[in-house]
Symmetry: C2
Subunit: 181 residues, 2 copies
């Protein structure tokens, strides 16, 4: 018999991302682990309403979503630990302005530049629904077919219950081909 | 300079789940990797509108979301490869009816029983917004504080670009404590 531990969100680990947005003319950065995929073409990024970055996202309607690899993690963790309202984080990473206007984090191997198409608001959270306008990848994380190779990229993952970062492990197999039955 | 590979969803790997719902009086099962966390208390499960399971979810407004570990993966992969419209999958797993009415997958170490509080519809997808009514865990995946230990659970993850399953790797460290700067 299973133990009922209450209404605990257990849908982890999720990919950790750095969200980049211009706020009051400066690049600002936020880490997020409460993210999702909506259909086959939209992302969801959930961010507490009082976050400083949300202001710029709402004003400019563009942002970037960067995957964090192990090399980037210490800096990503740092920008998650201080608020842009008090600390200028614009030089925390090397970056440039993307075609859509969002700051692109050069040190991330995989950045999705997005426009905000909706905000699915809950009581204390903005849940931004995002359309991807460009996916910017370092060549070395692409396989011979030009697809993202997560075995090379190995994104850092997040889990809330013990508030920890985890690694992406190895491949197990191809989907819908294990033929167990 | 990064390469623009188009509007590619790169927010992977995500936790693979088995969604369980009663459809026409029988338990039915669906695998999903397009999932998300909305705020701190809601889940999102995205499922193409023509999926057989969606019918039961809409009728009953309850479902279960089960994390897949390596032992469960072959069966999870099987239920993902056949439609409930053609194949009776009710006996694919051992299960029982949860307090809320959804089928609870006994073989998963972590099951969230949920009620559907909204459907954020897009053109071809139902994106069910879920409130968790009970989180049911096997004792061995809980740590001494009673929290879910993802280092023991090691959920199977999903990535779409090469359509593969991946393992959860090891812990890297505690969030917001890496003090890089």
């Amino acid at each position: 018999m299973k133990k009922n531990i209450g209404s605990v969100v257990g849908l982890y680990p999720t990919p950790l991302v750095v969200v980049g947005a211009m706020v009051e003319g400066k690049a600002n950065w936020l880490i997020a682990g409460h993210v999702g995929i909506v259909g086959h073409n939209r992302l969801l990024v959930s961010s507490m309403k009082n976050h400083y970055t949300n202001k710029g996202i709402k004003e400019n309607k563009v942002l970037s979503v960067s995957i964090v690899d192990e090399a980037l993690l210490p800096k990503a963790d740092y920008v998650g630990s201080v608020s842009g309202a008090k600390t200028d984080k614009s030089e925390a990473f090397a970056w440039y302005r993307g075609d859509g206007g969002a700051p692109i984090l050069e040190e991330s191997p995989l950045v999705m530049e997005c426009k905000v198409v909706d905000n699915y608001e809950t009581e204390t959270f903005d849940n931004f629904i995002l359309e991807i306008t460009a996916t910017l990848a370092d060549e070395n994380i692409l396989n011979e077919q030009g697809k993202i190779d997560y075995g090379v990229l190995k994104p850092i993952l997040f889990e809330f219950p013990t508030y920890s970062y985890m690694k992406t492990g190895d491949f197990v197999g191809k989907c819908l081909k294990l033929n167990s039955k």
